[in-house]
C-alpha cells in the first residue's frame, strides 16, 4: 500500500521543507525589494536641517541655576573638534520625534566636522546599557544619551567616570549626581507642556465643559508629568472644566482612535479631548470623522508639534498643539564644546517650546517636524 510513513519522514520532507521555506522567503524578499511604488513621495521636512527658527531656544528662568565645569568634574579640558562623540538613541526612529532627534544630532556633528558613532536600543533598556558600553569601547570620548529610563545607569556611569567620558543627556533625565555622573540635562519641561495644553483647552472651551484625557503609555514619566501639569492648571484656572474620562491610548494613533470611539459612545456630550501626544490626537480626529462629527465640535489639544498635527489645526480639527522640540543637536554639541573649554555649563538646560494654534499655524508650519 502506501509508503511507510517513517520512511517518508526521512527523505522527501526535508527537501520539501527547504524548497518551501526558500520559496516563501524569496516571495517575501521579492515583494520587499522589487518594484514597490508608494502612494506618493512622503512629505519631506524631516531631514533634520535645523533652520534658525526651528532650533531649540533655552528658557531663561528655568533650571536650578547650578553649573558644572571641567575642573569641578575633574575632567581635563578638551577641544570638541578632536573628539569622537557617541550617541545612544532610546527608541526606534519610527515616529517623527525620534527621527528628527537623531537627524538633528547627525546633522550637527556633520556641520561641525565631529566624528559621530550612533546606536539605537529599540526601546530595550538592557540593550541601551550595552549600547553605551559598546560606544565607549569603540572609542567614544564624549557621550550624548537619550535615556529610555532614568534609573539603572550605574554600570555605565561608573565606566564613564573611569574613562573620563563626559555625558550630556537629552529629552529624559538620568538620575545621578549632576556634574558628578553627568554634565548636563537638556530637555523640555513636560509638566509645563501639560499646563500650556490646559491653557489652550481653557481658551478653546471658554472655561466650561467636559474634557477627556488620552493618556500616554503607563509608567512613563512623560505621561505622568503631562497629566500632572494639565490637571493642576485646570483646577487652578478653570473650575468650570470637568475631567470626566482618562484612558490610555499608549501614545499610538490606533490607541487614540479606539479609545475616542468608545468615548464618544459613552459621553456623547464631550466638549474637549487632551491628547498627550500628536499621534493619539490624530487618531482621535479619525474617530470623530468616522462618527460624522464636524471639525471644532470637539476641541482637541495635543502635545508634540508634528507636521500632521499642525496641518489638522489648519483643517479646523485641532485647536492647538504644544510643541516638544526634538532638535537637540546644536544645544547638545554646544554644551560639550563649552564644557571642553573649561566654561561653566548649567546642569539643567530647559528649552522653551513653541505653541501652534489657528493664529500662527499657517506661518509656523515650516517649524513643525
Amino acid at each position: 500500500m502506501a509508503i511507510d510513513p517513517s520512511d517518508r519522514a526521512e527523505r522527501a520532507p526535508r527537501r520539501t521543507a527547504t524548497v518551501l521555506t526558500a520559496a516563501g522567503c524569496t516571495a517575501l524578499a521579492l515583494l520587499a525589494a522589487s518594484c514597490a511604488r508608494g502612494e506618493d513621495e512622503a512629505a519631506g521636512g524631516q531631514d533634520g536641517g535645523d533652520t534658525a527658527a526651528q532650533a531649540q531656544v533655552l528658557e531663561d528662568a528655568a533650571g536650578s541655576g547650578e553649573t558644572c565645569s571641567a575642573e569641578q568634574a575633574g575632567i581635563e579640558e578638551f577641544d570638541l573638534a578632536d573628539m569622537k562623540v557617541g550617541f545612544s538613541q532610546s527608541e526606534a526612529e519610527s515616529n517623527p520625534f525620534r527621527i528628527t532627534e537623531t537627524a538633528s544630532i547627525e546633522k550637527e556633528a556633520e556641520k561641525r566636522g565631529v566624528e559621530l558613532i550612533t546606536s539605537n536600543a529599540q526601546s530595550d533598556f538592557a540593550q541601551q546599557i550595552s549600547d553605551v558600553q559598546d560606544l565607549m569601547s569603540q572609542g567614544a570620548e564624549l557621550l550624548i544619551i537619550a535615556p529610555l529610563n532614568s534609573d539603572g545607569w550605574e554600570p555605565v556611569l561608573a565606566e564613564a567616570e573611569r574613562k573620563q567620558v563626559p555625558i550630556v543627556t537629552i529629552d529624559r533625565q538620568i538620575n545621578g549626581d549632576a556634574c558628578g555622573d553627568y554634565v548636563t540635562f537638556i530637555g523640555s519641561d513636560f509638566v509645563e507642556q501639560g499646563r500650556r495644553a490646559a491653557d489652550q483647552m481653557t481658551e478653546a472651551l471658554g472655561g466650561k465643559g467636559e474634557v477627556a484625557i488620552l493618556l500616554g503609555a503607563a509608567g512613563n514619566n512623560v505621561t505622568t508629568e503631562r497629566t500632572k501639569g494639565f490637571k493642576e492648571r485646570i483646577e487652578e484656572n478653570a473650575p468650570g472644566i470637568e475631567i470626566v474620562f482618562e484612558q490610555t491610548g499608549e501614545f499610538t494613533r490606533e490607541g487614540g482612535q479606539s479609545v475616542t470611539e468608545q468615548l464618544i459612545q459613552s459621553n456623547p456630550d464631550i466638549d474637549g479631548v487632551y491628547a498627550e501626544n500628536d499621534e493619539m490626537g490624530i487618531g482621535a480626529v479619525t474617530a470623530l470623522r468616522g462618527a460624522g462629527k464636524e471639525p471644532g465640535e470637539v476641541e482637541i489639544v495635543t502635545v508634540d508639534g508634528t507636521e500632521e498635527a499642525v496641518q489638522l489645526i489648519l483643517d479646523g480639527w485641532v485647536h492647538g498643539v504644544v510643541e516638544s522640540n526634538p532638535r537637540f543637536g546644536p544645544l547638545a554639541f554646544d554644551a560639550h564644546e563649552s564644557f571642553g573649554k573649561g566654561e561653566e555649563v548649567p546642569v539643567e538646560l530647559i528649552i522653551s517650546d513653541r505653541e501652534y494654534d489657528a493664529d500662527n499655524a499657517e506661518e509656523e508650519r515650516s517649524n513643525a517636524y
Binding site: 518551501l20 521555506t21 515583494l31 519610527s94 494613533r253 470611539e261 459612545q265
Partner: protein, 320 residues
C-alpha cells in the same frame, strides 16, 4: 445568569463543568451585555454596537486562523507581525492602485504562512519556535520596509475602512463572511475533519494515510492569509500604515479568544462559534471598563481573571 449556574455547580459538579465548558463563554457575553444595558449610559444604540463590531474585527479574523492552527495542536505567534507586514505592503504598493496593494499584502501573508507551515510540517520544527522566529523576523522586515507610520489618502482604502453597505460597515461584512467560510470548512469539508484528526492524534492520522503535512501547511498558509486580511482592514480603519505598532501583542488576544471559546490548546477539537464569542467577550470587557473610565490596569486584571476562569474549566476537561 450566574445565579442559575452557581447552584448547578454545587448540586452536580460532573454535569455542570462540561456544561460550563460548552456555554461558559456565551454566559459571559450575555452577562456583560446585561450589565452594560443596566449600568452603561447610551449602551443600547446602533452606533455603539457598530463601534464594538468594527473594533473587534482584527482580533476576530486573526482568531479564526488561530483556532484552525490550535486545532492541529500548533500555535501561531507571528500573526501580529504578519499584520505589520501586510500594512507595510499596502503602503509600498499603493502606487499601483488599491486592488494590487491589497493583493500583494495577501500574498505576503500567505508567503509568511507558507514559511511557518514548511518549518512546522516538513522540517519538524515546533510550532512555537517556528512562528516565534517569524514573529521577530516579520516585524523586523516590515520596519525595514516602512520605518515610520505612513498616512493613507487613497479613497478606495479609506472607503474600505470607514464605508458601509446596507447600514453595516464593510469591515463587519468581511468578518461575517470569513466566519461563515471557516465554519463551513470546519463542519462540512474533509479538510476540516483532517485538521481535527491531526490535532487529536497525528501519528494515527499518518498511519491511516491522511496527507498530514500538506494539511498542516495549508492551515498555516490560511492563518497567514487571515492575518494579512486583518492587517489590511486595520490599516484601512486607521487610514495609515503603522508597522511599528499595528498588531503588537495581538497574537495573545487571538489565542485568548480561541481558548476562552472552548478550543483546547492541545488540539483535536475546534469551536468557531465559541471563538467568535470569545473575541466578542474580550472586546466587551475592554469596552465596559473604558466606558466606565476605570484605570487601564483594571482591564489587564479583568482579562487575566477571564483567562484563568477559562483555563480552569478546561483543566477539568483534561482530568477526566
Amino acid at each position: 445568569m450566574t445565579a442559575i449556574g452557581m447552584p448547578a455547580v454545587r448540586v452536580d459538579r460532573t454535569r455542570a463543568v462540561p456544561w460550563l465548558q460548552e456555554y461558559g463563554v456565551y454566559i459571559g457575553v450575555a452577562a456583560l451585555l446585561v450589565f452594560n444595558l443596566v449600568f452603561t449610559p447610551h449602551f443600547l444604540s446602533l452606533e455603539n454596537f457598530r463601534t464594538q463590531a468594527v473594533q473587534v474585527t482584527p482580533v476576530l479574523i486573526l482568531s479564526l486562523g488561530m483556532a484552525l492552527v490550535i486545532a492541529t495542536g500548533g500555535i501561531d505567534l507571528s500573526v501580529g507581525s504578519v499584520m505589520a507586514l501586510s500594512a507595510a505592503m499596502i503602503s509600498l504598493y499603493l502606487g499601483y492602485g488599491p486592488v494590487v496593494a491589497v493583493l500583494v499584502a495577501l500574498v505576503a501573508g500567505a508567503a509568511a504562512g507558507a514559511v511557518n507551515g514548511a518549518l512546522v510540517a516538513f522540517a519538524g520544527v515546533q510550532a512555537i519556535v517556528a512562528t516565534l522566529a517569524m514573529m521577530i523576523g516579520g516585524r523586523g522586515l516590515s520596519l525595514v520596509l516602512l520605518p515610520q507610520l505612513d498616512g493613507i489618502r487613497n479613497p478606495g482604502i479609506r472607503e474600505l475602512g470607514a464605508g458601509e453597505a446596507l447600514g453595516v460597515p464593510y469591515l463587519v461584512w468581511i468578518s461575517a463572511v470569513l466566519v461563515a467560510v471557516v465554519v463551513f470548512v470546519v463542519r462540512r469539508t474533509v479538510f476540516g475533519r483532517r485538521i481535527v484528526a491531526i490535532g487529536g492524534n497525528r501519528r494515527a492520522g499518518e498511519l491511516s494515510g491522511l496527507p498530514v503535512r500538506r494539511t498542516l501547511l495549508v492551515v498555516y498558509v490560511l492563518c497567514g492569509l487571515l492575518a494579512a486580511v486583518a492587517g489590511v482592514l486595520a490599516t484601512a480603519r486607521l487610514q495609515a500604515s503603522d508597522p511599528n505598532s499595528i498588531g503588537r501583542l495581538i497574537e495573545l488576544s487571538a489565542i485568548t479568544a480561541v481558548v476562552v471559546g472552548g478550543t483546547p490548546l492541545q488540539g483535536g477539537r475546534v469551536r468557531i462559534a465559541g471563538t467568535v464569542a470569545g473575541a466578542v467577550l474580550m472586546q466587551l470587557l475592554v469596552s465596559t471598563l473604558i466606558k466606565h473610565d476605570l484605570p487601564p490596569s483594571w482591564t489587564q486584571i479583568a482579562q487575566t481573571a477571564v483567562i484563568i476562569a477559562a483555563v480552569y474549566v478546561a483543566r477539568e476537561r483534561g482530568r477526566k
